[in-house]
């Protein structure tokens, strides 16, 4: 096997590579392999994502959330692997769909806040001066709002409340951190020679920002977005727990945990809330592990690999 691959001309180039600086992806990969916990976390995340999205193709959400009064609060059995809730709904099915929904909204909010943060932060940092001043005051203003309360109020008063409006509301009050981070990095970046050189050659600001500065910020953006994903899943499940996230007909991990606010359920019916709680915890820890490994990969001083 070894001999065969080394003869392959395509792979030959790879052997020579150490002479060059390793590419970004290579560094990330080396860091992940060196950090076994992060690697395991990544494998777990890939598996669970594939599992919940795959299985939920065969599950019927309508069927799972239909109330069945003959099967209320059943303990785990062959029919219901994790028992049923107060409406006789299968917990296992809700857990799968809930994980899928929580992951989806987490990813959606992360991507949307990321986009706003990137554009806002880069424009503000690149142009500087009065533009920067005004834009940062806007950020400051959003930062002082009591996030949880404002989001809850919006969720309560928005007419025709849906998953899309929920993620838009969350996005509207979560993009500031990323805008600040990217602004400060853009400020450093625009002083570098390549930006000046590109300007001298007559590149438009748009071109410099999105084809030259942006790639240089990509590693920081990826790290920030990974860590944000964990936080957003936590926020979504927290809001669903309070009853201001997904509507009840759409299961989420937080909704399952919220059944534990009933003292009876908390004490005697562990199968309803313990699996969902554990899943939230493991998901957040795994995403954080991967995020920390990525963070080390972007900072040469901290690298292990």
């Amino acid at each position: 096997m070894e001999i065969e691959t080394s003869k392959n001309p395509l792979l030959l180039s790879k052997v020579e590579e150490p002479a060059k600086t390793p590419s970004g992806w290579r560094i990330i990969w080396r860091e992940l392999v060196r950090d076994k916990v992060a690697l395991l976390s990544l494998i777990f995340l890939v598996l669970i994502t594939a599992f919940v999205y795959g299985i939920s193709l065969f599950l019927d959400q309508e069927e799972i959330v239909t109330v069945d009064l003959f099967a209320i609060h059943q303990p785990p059995s062959a029919d219901f692997w994790l028992g049923t809730d107060y409406g006789g709904r299968d917990i296992f099915g809700q857990l799968i769909i809930g994980t899928r929904n929580s992951l989806s909204i987490g990813i959606l909010v992360t991507v949307m806040t990321g986009l706003i943060g990137i554009i806002f932060g880069m424009v503000s940092g690149y142009f500087g001066g009065a533009v920067d001043n005004i834009m940062m005051r806007i950020v400051d203003f959003f930062m002082i709002l009591p996030f949880l309360m404002i989001v809850i109020v919006f969720v309560a008063i928005v007419p025709k409340y849906s998953i899309l409006s929920f993620s838009l509301i969350m996005t509207a009050f979560l993009w500031m951190g990323k805008a600040r981070l990217i602004r400060s990095k853009t400020l450093q970046e625009r002083e570098l020679d390549y930006v000046q050189a590109s300007k001298t050659l007559g590149s438009s600001n748009f071109r410099i920002l999105f084809t030259q500065v942006l790639p240089n910020l990509s590693s920081i953006i990826i790290v920030a977005m990974t860590l944000n994903l964990a936080a957003n899943i936590g926020l979504e499940s927290g809001l669903s727990f309070l009853g201001f996230g997904f509507p009840e007909s759409t299961p989420s991990l937080g909704t399952l945990v919220s059944y534990a606010r009933n003292p009876q359920t908390l004490q005697d019916r562990w199968w309803i809330w313990v699996p969902a709680s554990l899943l939230i915890l493991v998901l957040m820890l795994s995403i954080n592990n991967v995020g920390q490994a990525l963070k080390r990969a972007t900072d040469a001083r901290q690298r292990r690999g």
Binding site: V153, S237, G238
Partner: protein
Amino acid sequence: MWKFTVRRIFVMIPQVILLSVIIFILAKMMPGDALSGLIDPNIDPATIEAKREALGLNNPWYVQYWDWIKNAVQGDLGQSFQFKMPVSEIIGQRLTNTFWLALLTLIITYLIAIPLGITSGRFNDTWGDRLITGYTYVGFGMPLFIFALVMLWIFGFKLGWFPSGGSVKPGLDPGSFEYIVSKFKHMLLPALSAALIATVGTVQYLRSEIIDIKQKDFIQTARAKGASESRVYNRHILRNSLLPIAAFFGYEITGLIGGSIFIENIFSYPGIGQLFLGSINIRDYTVVTSCVLLFGIAAILGSLLSDIILSIVDPRIRIK
């Protein structure tokens, strides 16, 4: 320092005004108005219209905003239709509960965080440090509401060491010794749950700060002069590493505000967070807006406090 403080307070004024505008817009977006709860549906529309006129609800928005602000500054936040009493009175009762809970949480947070951070930083890479790092690692990924539920499950129900809800045992005479003890007992578990999660950031920060400072030249100098190990740690390292912690004090308050909504909900503790959730569920919007205004101002004051402390402990900030 005074110059910085005064300037910082001036920055705060537009923040508060903007916050009040946002809350006012939110209040206007809410379905119904102050009248929907006051009158019964049998009254004919003309009377309602007359009352609306009398209450100024038909005025242009800037007049309404001005009236609202004027009354709010004077302590009149309107009428709650759920409780049939002035909002300021309801909030007053709940606010004391939230205040004591937040204070206890802060005290416990620092009581846990500072010794743990110091141990972890001073004896880094020993088993003790690994234990503490393990705790902060799990705590960092643990959502507050799940942790609080588990605490309630174990200590409130399974072991029965703490009461599982409320803020005081009913039937006790306010002001008596037993009343205070009962209040404390009801606060301890919620405060402990919130504190154990809130410590995480402080412990991690203190640890890395101490490890960082340990390697600085001035510590070498202190050692070379023959200062004892405890003197090096207490006088040289701790002094430097505790300053940023002191400065984060104000931001802790902001964090507590968000947390109190979860904590009060889970432990059925009658504070502002609980009042807020209860009022929004039954659409008692005068109470809702007052709670948001109150917590919003508390958050602004928290960041003001942090900036002022920071300017005292770190002179570089003042120049800016």
